[in-house]
Amino acid sequence: MLTVNEDRCVGCGLCVYFCPRDALKVWGACRIDRDVCNDCLICLDYCPVDALGVQEEIPA
């Protein structure tokens, strides 16, 4: 599952430009729209400060 490290995120918004599903909103910091994000993880490559990462999903 895609995660944002809120301490590292600077709010640059590059991830928004490159998300193929427009699942990210940045307003000073990045928020993931879980209804839209499909964990393709393309955004990880575009974050200049390594704030995007992956976390194992906790089973419901």
């Binding site: 640059c12 430009y17 490559d45 400060v49």
Partner: protein, 435 residues
Amino acid sequence: MNTKQNGFDVAVVGAGMGGLCSAALLAHYGYKVIVVEKLPFIGGRASSAKYKGFTLPTGALYVETGGVVEKLFQEVGAPFPVRSFPMQLCFRMSGKDHLMPLKGGLRALMSNFADEAEAGTVLNAIRRAFSWKEPSMAISIRDWLLQYTQNDKLLAIFRGLVNYQCVNFSDMPAGEFIRQLRFGTGATAGAHPQGFLALMQELVKVIESHGGQVWTSSRVKYIEVQDESARGIVVDQAGKQVEISSKAVISDAGPQATLELAGKKHFDKGYLKEVGENVRPLSYMCIEVSSDRPLVDFPGVMVVPEGHRQMTMMCTSLAYPEYAPPGKHLLQAWAAPDSSFLPLNTKKEVDLMVQDLRDAIPNFDKDAEILHVSYWQKDWPMYRAMPGALTQKTPIENLYNVGDGVAPFVPLGLPACAETAQIVTKDIKQRIKPA
């Protein structure tokens, strides 16, 4: 298992403005160069991306024409298809628009809000600063001006002008502002009709045409240092480690990153102290807005200096219709947050800037759609440091920094990055012969 790449004279870390300018110059002068960029695109904070049909920046909005950057492009034989827009500023204050004439603009603008005597006091101080002695760097331009006027409107004018240098009014040193006012960005500026990415691609073409290489999505793991001398870089390219030997290494990753990559233990304590104290990144914000009609019907830059945040805006699509899809307009608004240096509540800063947009533009909520919000700070800052913070040479032989972390005392931003490339290239030409 590592692979080795030899035969490079210079390895460049980062394909930002400083890195690409350096590599293009060196390639032009016969050096075999390789540029390694961690992101999937070149240009860093001088690039652009297509988003919902709009061409939007990753950082720099405009570049001066006829100056350091254009001269560098000419020197390396690269096209510089930058289209200028009218540099005339308009100040939107208390609901009225005041055009700033190109000549005697400051006096004319101030005359709207103060009599000759009051404006004269400020103008005389500036004239003295130009002709006799630059004001101190130990005081902000705001505090310096307060010595000569308490007039809110006059102060607002300068708050607006400071925003052109992307520094907060209370953080801009008086000496730096006066220097920029006197020597700063040229009379004309503009942008590439296809965005900054296309402009920076011209430098990549120069590099590649001379047999150089530019790798993207490739991360420099470390800079190889032996006997206090830079020997090359080690790169992670798609999971494989590649050792690249070179006679010199230029880092466009920023002075702090350079320390990490080369290993702090190799740097003398004095330099480490300098980097820690002098290299302080500056923050900035930009909001991109889409609309069906132009939200500001002025073909240049509109300064809105009296709001919560010092804001400047431009209906970019009027000068660059290519930046918006057919039938749409693009407004770009940019502002310094409440402090250029302190960590702030970024959401609150953006909220206040949006409030300023609502106050400055009638029917904003009805007619505008906020496309994108950018906040530059920390490791992706507006500028990595104020000019003069650090020199380009590091204590490690043949390891240089370029870019806005080591800007010399001249025009801020892109011209400074190009200037660092010129300085480093000149030094390399004196010390190292191409293979």
